[in-house]
Structures are given as structure tokens and as C-alpha cells.
Symmetry: C2
Subunit: 235 residues, 2 copies
């Protein structure tokens, strides 16, 4: 089986994809489902999110790490973990992560959301679904590869290589080398540009939360893209 | 000063850029100038190259590692090193490298071509030219980050860090970690997808040539982009 890492979303995906935005969208998405949200809807824009305000709907997301006027919640996994969302739809829109998830959802057969928090569970689930290729798609930071997502992709690759044989692309080799060179996830997450930006806004606790590996077995999984809506559930 | 590595060409560049396509365009470009070519003209397409056939002009390049019908030379640094080009213009067009060089040339103040072959000289020259930022722009492989170029960027970063203080972006951290983890350049170059493709076509000698570090002091340097022509000389 092929194991590829794309350091940025690129082109079409034919089989199983794990989308990574460890700081913070895919971590926070996992937490919403841990706290019993019925489903996550990844919207295409802030305007689209605001148009979805309704009973039993939570509007969440950020721009540049900050909350958006009119939204119910930001993009903080700690804040998300303080609530309970049974019977609710959470609508998310973030700077990089929702874009990557929407690109992958446009072509892949299976799309999962992965972070350090659910890394082992996401790797195991992808291995069970994939026929010929697992692609780990990093969200990156405004069109450039990011240290935090590349490191997280390396952790996912490490788990996958323990589960079977794969041929690796260049991105997977880069990510694995980074993971093997840097043991402690706090280092790449806090020195990444996304991490430094969060720290400067007083959100350093979020970085430490996102750095904890495989504490969750919840894997947000694409349910449908019906009517252009990209919906993830805990399956 | 800022030191950034873009694992793929991206957006605009404001100061000094080193473009990297170690397998093989920027290595071969360096060799053409070592062998006394007057100038290198990076064309936008095969058709444009063919339209430039003239006396004292050598048409060189490749598609998918192979020579192009009607071209005088391919993209092999060993083949390039067998000739002498005094008084001649070499027109180059390759799959990834000429595109990256043209993107950088559209906005940057100074553009250099870097490879392992001229890594130390390229780093030193960039350090002398740059005012606020050195950007190392990897060509990558068909829109995805490549192991060989990322490794080469790490070698350039290592030289630059020995010459002064820099703030690093995420790409620079990824490239430096790769360089520090993998000492011998033969390993990343031959296991990269570009390297494996060359090996499969019997061009393994080119990989070993491209892996030799800092044997040349020639740095192809953007002379002008007059009339949309992207011309490099040994300055
Ligand atoms: Ca991010
Ligand atoms: Ca190349
Ligand atoms: Ca090339």
C-alpha cells in the first residue's frame, strides 16, 4: 500500500485521506465529537457559517487565531471541552483546516480528521479503510508547509508503519525524519509559526493540550458531501 | 535577518532568493556556467525553447528526466560538463526547476541558483546581497515537496546559520532537521522520487554527481528579466 504525506493540500485523492490541522482545527473537531456533538459541518466561509445560525446549532471557528464576531465559540479545544453538544450540529470554519478538509472531501473515498490527540485511532481506522493508498494531508499555514502539521503527519506515519508495509513518498520521508529527530511534540508545536502566534495571544495552554498524543479514540469521519455540505461524524 | 525555506514556490519574494532544483536543473545550470557559457536563458515552455534556435545557442532541457525532440542537450550535469560553451547562450527548460526560477524572478530583488554543488558559494553570495530576508525556494516535484530539494535547502541553511543570526520559518526548521538527521546526501537524493526515477532510467551517475557538496564556486545569478526573459549569468 502507498503511504503519502502532502505537506499542503494538492490535487485529487483516490482512496483514504487523514486531514491534519493539529493547531487547532482537527484537535478541536475531535473534542466536539468527544463531547457528543451529533455532527460537524465544515463551512466554506465565515458568511456561510453565519447563515447557518439555527436552534441546536453552534457556530465555531477563528481567523488568525481569534474568535469571529457573531460566532458562538472560537477554535480552542479547551473551550470546546468545557461544553456538551448532544443533539447539536457544530458548524466550523477556520483559516487553514476547513479548507484542507474540503479539498480532500471533494475527491477521496474516505476522509478522517487526525491530530496528535487521536493519532493512533486515526491511523488504525485509515488502515482498516484503505485499499491502495493512505494520504495524510497537512493543512499548512497560509499556503506554506507547517512544522506542527508535518510533525503530526510523522507521528501518524510511525503508527501506520507499525501496522503494515507501505511505499513512502517524499513527504512521508520528510515527516518521518522530523518525527524521529524530535521526540517531544511540545518542541515542534511551540516553535511553529502557528504555535508562536497562539502563544503571543495568550493561548499557550491550547498548544500543550494539542501536543498530548493518542488520548482520544474518536476519529471524525466524513459522512457525506451531499448538497456540497461537508459533514463529519463519529462513526 | 529572516531565513525562510519554501518547500514549493509560493507567492511573492521581496529580497534575495536561492532557487533549488538539485536533481538536476540548478546543478546543471551551474555546470554550464563553469564551462564558460555566456548566459543561461530559462524559457517558459518547450515551444519557446525551440523557437530560440539560433547560431551560438544551445537548447537544453528535459521532460520526465528524458531529452526533448529537437533539443541539443538534456538536463544531465555530466553531459553538460563534457562540453564548452564560450560565446554561447544556453536555453534551459525543465519540468520543475525553470518554473521555480521564473516565479522567483518575477518579484525578488536578487535570484541565485543553488544546488549541493555550489551550496557554500550560493549561501555566501546570498548573505552578501540580502538586506532583510533570504528565501530558499525549492522547486519540488510536480507541485509536491521533494526530499532532495528540502535536504539541499537544509544544507544551505546550515551554511547561512554559520554566517550570522536569522529568524527561521517552519520550512527552514523542517529542512534543517532533515539535514541534521541525514548526514550523507546520497541517501535523500537517491531515495527521493526524482532520484528513483533517474535511477530507473539509467541516470544514477547523475545523482552521485549532484550529491557532491560545494565543489563549485559558480553561482548563477539573475541578470535581468527584460522583455520577460529570465537570464542568469556568472557574476
Ligand atoms: Ca494550523
Ligand atoms: Ca527536481
Ligand atoms: Ca527539473
Amino acid at each position: 500500500m502507498r503511504l503519502r504525506v502532502d505537506l499542503l493540500p494538492h490535487g485529487e485523492y483516490s482512496d483514504t485521506v487523514i486531514v491534519v490541522d493539529v493547531l487547532r482545527a482537527t484537535t478541536t473537531a475531535t473534542v466536539f465529537l468527544e463531547h457528543h456533538a451529533d455532527r460537524l459541518l465544515f463551512s466554506g466561509s465565515i458568511e456561510e457559517s453565519l447563515g447557518m445560525k439555527a436552534e441546536n446549532t453552534i457556530i465555531a471557528g477563528e481567523r488568525g487565531g481569534l474568535a469571529v464576531a457573531g460566532f458562538d465559540l472560537g477554535n480552542s479545544p479547551i473551550e470546546a471541552g468545557a461544553g456538551s453538544y448532544a443533539g447539536k450540529t457544530v458548524v466550523m470554519n477556520t483559516t487553514n483546516g476547513t479548507y484542507a478538509a474540503r479539498v480532500a472531501s471533494a475527491s477521496a473515498k474516505h476522509v478522517l480528521l487526525g491530530a496528535l490527540r487521536n493519532a493512533h485511532a486515526a491511523a488504525r481506522k485509515a488502515k482498516g479503510l484503505a485499499v491502495e493508498e493512505i494520504a495524510i494531508v497537512c493543512s499548512g499555514e497560509r499556503g506554506r508547509a507547517s512544522l506542527d502539521d508535518t510533525y503530526t503527519a510523522g507521528v501518524l506515519c510511525e503508527y501506520l508503519l507499525a501496522m503494515g508495509e507501505f511505499t513512502l513518498n517524499d513527504g512521508a520521508r520528510i515527516a518521518l525524519t522530523l518525527r524521529r529527530q524530535v521526540g517531544d511534540p511540545i518542541e515542534p508545536l511551540s516553535s511553529s509559526s502557528g504555535g508562536m502566534s497562539l502563544e503571543s495571544k495568550g493561548l499557550g495552554e491550547d498548544i500543550r493540550f494539542c501536543a498530548r498524543i493518542s488520548e482520544s479514540t474518536i476519529v471524525p469521519t466524513l459522512q457525506s458531501t451531499q448538497d456540497g455540505q461537508v459533514i463529519f461524524v463519529s462513526s
